[in-house]
Subunit: 331 residues, 2 copies
């Protein structure tokens, strides 16, 4: 049953809303049983890899910046990046959608449509979900991703002195987009006037997902996806592995050059070294193995514990979303 573009969730029954959403999701594939029963049933084989991540409106996205399709892409990619960072292949997504009664049906339908497209793009199935109502203004999308792993998982704790540190994917692009959007919002500038290329990765991040299993098969000793910034995430590998990670800023020149097309040199450097939500993969490769194509070496693992940029010890800064301020843990 078509609804008017002005229809809100309260205009439909839950069943009617589900009738609009379910055909949009990518149902079927590896499941024996998909949505519609109490739970989904999958034949996984191997090890199961599980992760969950939520996005909250007005914290993780703003409706005046992000379309429903943007939100769907972002929540899918950030979950699938966590699987890739273990070396896993994604198989299935579960979606929990929490929306208030006044949410436009069109928002939900557009979100679900893109969620389904993402599932098809990555060949995963939407194995289930939950639709809950919420108090006014609340909108939360929570995703759980399930993957499978053929060999051993690549942890954060396996880096050893002598390994090369390499990245695949971009650095700083999400942070540059966020910086431009924040500045435009402060100055009352229309978002539609901003350069699309500079915003693209912030609004719809991509992750080189297939490089996760490739790095694992190549013998990566440690890996994660860059969700809180290169320095903070490299620092996590250093701490977990009890090693020092030395980064070479010359290797970051392509990212710095791209960022300086849109923002000042200082903002560009902060974005490339500290920008979060990038979802590129950062991994360490032992001297005995070849760094796979599409990965570029940006540093080395040394003995000691800590983080160095161009041989200078660097404290690790990152954003803490509860404290609402930069936090500087001792190195």
């Amino acid at each position: 049953m078509p609804t008017s573009p002005q229809a809100v969730v309260a205009d439909l029954t839950e069943d009617a809303l589900l009738d609009r959403i379910l055909p949009l999701l990518a149902i079927g594939g590896s499941e024996r049983v998909g949505p519609g029963d109490d739970a989904a049933v999958l034949e996984l084989g191997g090890s199961a890899v599980l992760t969950t991540d939520s996005m909250v409106r007005d914290i993780d996205w703003r409706d005046d910046w992000s379309t429903p399709e943007d939100v769907a892409v972002k929540v899918v990619v950030q979950n699938l990046a966590d699987l890739a960072a273990m070396g896993a292949v994604p198989r299935s997504l579960l979606l929990s959608l929490v929306v208030d009664r006044h949410t436009p049906v069109e928002w939900v339908v557009r979100f679900a449509g893109q969620f389904g497209q993402q599932c098809r793009r990555y060949a995963v199935s939407a194995s289930g979900g939950d639709l809950s109502s919420a108090p006014a203004q609340t909108r939360v999308v929570s995703v759980t991703a399930v993957g499978t792993l053929e060999g051993a998982p690549v942890l954060r704790s396996g880096a050893r002195p002598g390994d090369r540190v390499a990245v695949t994917g971009s650095l700083g692009r999400s942070a540059v987009g966020l910086a431009l959007l924040t500045e435009a919002s402060r100055d009352g500038v229309e978002v539609s006037g901003l350069p699309a290329e500079a915003l693209a990765h912030h609004l719809r991040p991509s992750c080189p997902l297939s490089q996760g299993p490739i790095a694992a098969a190549a013998g990566a000793s440690a890996m994660l996806d860059i969700s809180d910034g290169l320095l903070r995430d490299a620092g996590r590998i250093a701490r977990a592995s009890q090693v020092a990670i030395a980064l070479d800023s010359a290797a970051l020149a392509p990212d710095l050059n791209w960022a300086e097309r849109w923002v000042s040199r200082a903002v560009a450097r902060a974005a490339v070294l500290g920008g979060g939500e990038e979802h590129s993969l950062l991994a360490c490769f032992p001297p005995s193995v070849e760094v796979p194509s599409w990965w570029r070496v940006i540093g080395q693992v040394r003995s000691g514990v800590g983080l160095l940029v161009d041989d200078r010890p660097t404290p690790v800064a990152g954003w803490d979303h509860f404290a609402g301020r930069e936090v500087h843990p001792s190195p």
Copy 2:
């Protein structure tokens, strides 16, 4: 680091809050890798069964009625009940916690403590989670449950004429508790003065979880957990299986008698037939198999499609949480 009882989430960094929560969760067990890396890794074997369910403050619970421990019990049980209703054994839970900066740390810590206790009680591991900040007043807990299945899943669509319809667990208890709480709230009566026995199942539901795999092994043809009321959920089996389900109200006498201790006869009947969030299991058993102990027969499956109570056709009513009203689909 201890915090004062008045501390709110914004007083701690995210890492400090995680340091308080992680030791409380039941980590370890069947995982090869638990929380702390990008994703958890489990050796499942057999088929994986997946489900997700969220609870939203002021929709699914009220802080003046439910303690943080009550919320933890409820969100765990409603997820595990969905696994049991497929015949699966629970293995793992993932938790996504979305809370605003002014949330008392004590609320989060008490919730996490009981979440961990529930994991230990049901021998499942907490395999991961996500902590997100939210706009003022928002509090959402989303859980994904993972189970395993040795044989075939028990679906809603397998009931056949001649099967007996049976239930294990209580009926109407959650709705009676909700009715008393709602009445007390309307009349300005203190909740602490209400009889604890009448509120217990609403605040901390229980599900006879082990009966799910037992019914599956016994040969149940269809099964679900009663989350939206006996009539509505029996109607779901009838529609999915294309059969008629005939319930015998005399078999519901123990539930009606219990309910009438606390509420009027009319409210008691509505609670037993239509009350949701009960999480008891409803299953159909073919004539060739024995109904297991702890299950009681409350009706029969007949040819046709629909629902009958004492041989009278009954429209299926249920609560629709978006429309905020009773909905009466055509039978």
